[in-house]
């Protein structure tokens, strides 16, 4: 990054944060602080919902997924439009009608205080942990490739988001997220066009797509029923539906984004905006990764994309072995480039036999290259058993730093940080709201009438959770593939929480005690299954939800019978 990149980066990030804090510095009403402006329209709400979900991990990890495994990850989002329709039709009207600040407040109304506390506690546990990952994920990658100090990166991004989130609460979050999304869209479109421009002369999008497809990177939909496959149409529809329904319908970081606004219509349209755009957006980000894969067919790629890790070991005692692998990789890369060019030429000649032979040669060349990459990872482990051997999160940022022009590099790094800030702000805002409304006010009911004090307390809790996230990011280590780590964590808890809400909305005869103990039993079951089974994590959303609903019904029947017997 040069001076121009730094100007672009700082101007966008500090500018948006300062704008958000300045415009909302006079917010004194609790409702505005926790729910946002009551004038917000559907565009603001829709972008805010999108920005909260799209963290930096989305833009670092997902192109890496596209590069490494292809675009099949898009199926993860297949349940999302259906979930948003259900949230818009059922959840949102009830939340607005009751005028609740949090989703768990509704549980208190529908069931009892202990179920409300259980819902709030599960949210605080899950989201509190994820908040650390949200801030750690971009920091570890950006600090590594840009040579920034990791702790300083975590602290500075963490403090930046704390400043405007504490100052203006939900209104500041909505306002900044709108501009952060503008930076994100602008940056991703820039990356897409630069990438197409960088492909070899005469090699257009169609050729690139054919190469990516032949290499197995464009299998977007897989109807296989094999439960071992992580992403299929079915896991997306069923597991993804539960995950999305739980996330958008019951996770306060999302609920808070759409329960405010000028009217019910604005929240509903904001959700439908996401229902229409989310899958195409994720597809484009994954496609970007697949196109980066094609780009590196013709340009020398590092044998291992986490170059900092690679250099750290290649300069040590095992240096000779590392250099030998680099030489083998360069030769394998040249062979694959020739094979890809040959196949692309033959492909257009209507000669099926020649095309088939050239395709086999190209796939063999790719296998040879993959074998060298596997050896590289083996060499890293031999040099250091603790070495990180998954480099897909580094693919896109490596491409950005080595191929984009100056200015665009600053913009794309701004995309990563804007995404981190936007999702972080939504999380802090929600954590503080839940702590204030569902915990603090529960135990200090007399304080509820003092609005100014409530706003002060909410600000302190925002600050507290911001510092917790920074501390967690500074001292914790995380799983190597960050987006999957967050989704796995969510899947363990989300299903049960969704089960509680589904019982609340749809099974009126079940009461608080039954659903409370059913939820605890279902959560234990999910944790036991997660530690014993080897199935796609998306299924745990379905299992947790189904278990909670079934246990609730059975337990309510038993409790009902016991009560009838006692009465008799």
């Amino acid at each position: 990054m040069n001076g121009f990149d730094w100007i672009v980066l700082l101007a966008t990030m500090v500018g948006i944060s300062a704008y958000g804090a300045w415009h909302t510095r006079h917010v004194s009403s609790l409702k505005t602080y926790l729910k946002g402006s009551d004038k917000a329209k559907w565009g603001t709400i829709g972008l805010s919902v999108m920005a909260t979900q799209a963290s930096a991990i989305t833009f670092l990890s997902i192109p890496g997924q596209g590069y490494e495994s292809g675009i099949g990850f898009v199926q993860n989002y297949f349940g999302l439009p259906i979930a948003l329709i259900i949230v818009s039709a059922v959840f949102l009207p009830i939340y607005r009608k009751l005028g609740v600040y949090t989703a768990y407040e509704y549980l208190g109304r529908r069931f009892d205080a202990k179920t409300r506390l259980l819902g709030a506690a599960l949210f605080l546990l899950q989201r509190g942990l994820a908040a650390g990952v949200t801030i750690y994920a971009p920091a570890i990658i950006l600090s590594s490739v840009l040579g920034w100090d990791l702790d300083l990166t975590i602290v500075s991004t963490g403090l930046l988001v704390i400043v405007y989130t504490v100052t203006g609460g939900s209104e500041a979050v909505n306002l900044t997220q709108k501009w952060q999304m503008a930076v994100i869209f602008g940056g991703m479109v820039t990356a897409f066009f630069v990438l197409l421009h960088k492909l070899p002369n005469g090699f257009g999008f169609g050729d690139a797509a054919h190469v990516a497809g032949a290499m197995g990177k464009l299998q977007a939909v897989d109807f296989s029923l094999n439960p071992d496959r992580r992403y299929t149409f079915w896991t997306g529809i069923f597991g993804g539906l539960c995950l999305s329904l739980s996330y958008f319908g019951t996770d306060q970081s999302q609920v808070q984004r759409y329960i405010g606004g000028a009217a019910l219509r604005e929240g509903r349209l904001g959700l439908m905006f996401n229902g229409l755009l989310k899958i195409p957006m994720q597809f484009m980000i994954l496609l970007l990764g697949a196109l980066v894969f094609v780009f590196y067919q013709f340009q020398p790629a590092p044998v291992y994309f986490n170059q900092t890790e690679w250099r750290r070991h290649s300069q040590g005692a095992h240096g000779e072995a590392f250099r030998a692998i680099e030489s083998r990789y360069a030769a394998a890369h040249e062979a694959r480039e020739r094979a890809v060019t040959a196949w692309n030429d033959v492909r257009k000649e209507s000669n099926p036999a020649a095309e088939s032979a050239a395709r086999v040669a190209m796939l063999d060349a790719q296998k040879s290259l993959d074998a060298v990459r596997a050896d590289a990872k083996g060499a890293l482990l031999a040099a250091d058993p603790e070495a990180k051997t998954k480099d897909s999160d580094y693919v896109f940022i490596t491409f950005i730093l080595s191929e984009l022009p100056h200015g665009a590099i600053g913009l794309l790094v701004a995309v990563m940080i804007a995404a981190a800030l936007s999702s972080k702000a939504g999380e802090l805002n929600a954590l503080a709201t839940t702590t204030t409304i569902d915990l603090w006010r529960q135990f200090r009911p007399l304080a509820a009438a003092d609005e100014a004090r409530n706003v002060r307390v909410a600000k302190w809790f925002t600050f507290f959770w911001g510092m917790v996230a920074i501390a967690f990011a500074l001292f914790a280590g995380f799983a190597e593939n960050l987006i999957e780590a967050i989704n796995i964590l969510g899947s363990i808890f989300y299903g049960v929480v969704l089960g509680v809400f589904l019982v609340a909305f749809f099974i009126q005869r079940v009461k608080g005690t039954a659903v409370f103990f059913a939820a605890i039993a279902a959560q234990v079951l999910v944790i036991v299954l997660y530690s014993t089974l080897d199935i796609s994590y998306l299924w745990y959303n379905l299992i947790g939800c189904a278990a909670c609903v079934c246990f609730s019904v059975v337990l309510q029947s038993l409790l009902g019978s016991a009560r009838e017997e006692a009465a008799a």
């Binding site: 439009p81 009608k97 005028g99 464009l218």
Partner: protein
């Protein structure tokens, strides 16, 4: 809890050109989703 919102009824028209009811709008989003999945499947097979 804030006082209940003075919203228009849940079944009030969405005030979106071309849609008289929310059910119609949801149906539209559902159909777009199905078309998106079909387009993705076609895209996959076209470049397989």
């Amino acid at each position: 809890m804030t006082p209940p919102e003075k919203d228009s009824p849940a079944d009030a028209p969405p005030q979106v050109p071309g849609f008289k009811t929310w059910r119609g709008l949801y149906l539209f989003v559902g159909i777009v989703f199905l078309l998106t999945v079909a387009a993705l499947a076609l895209f996959s097979s076209a470049f397989a």
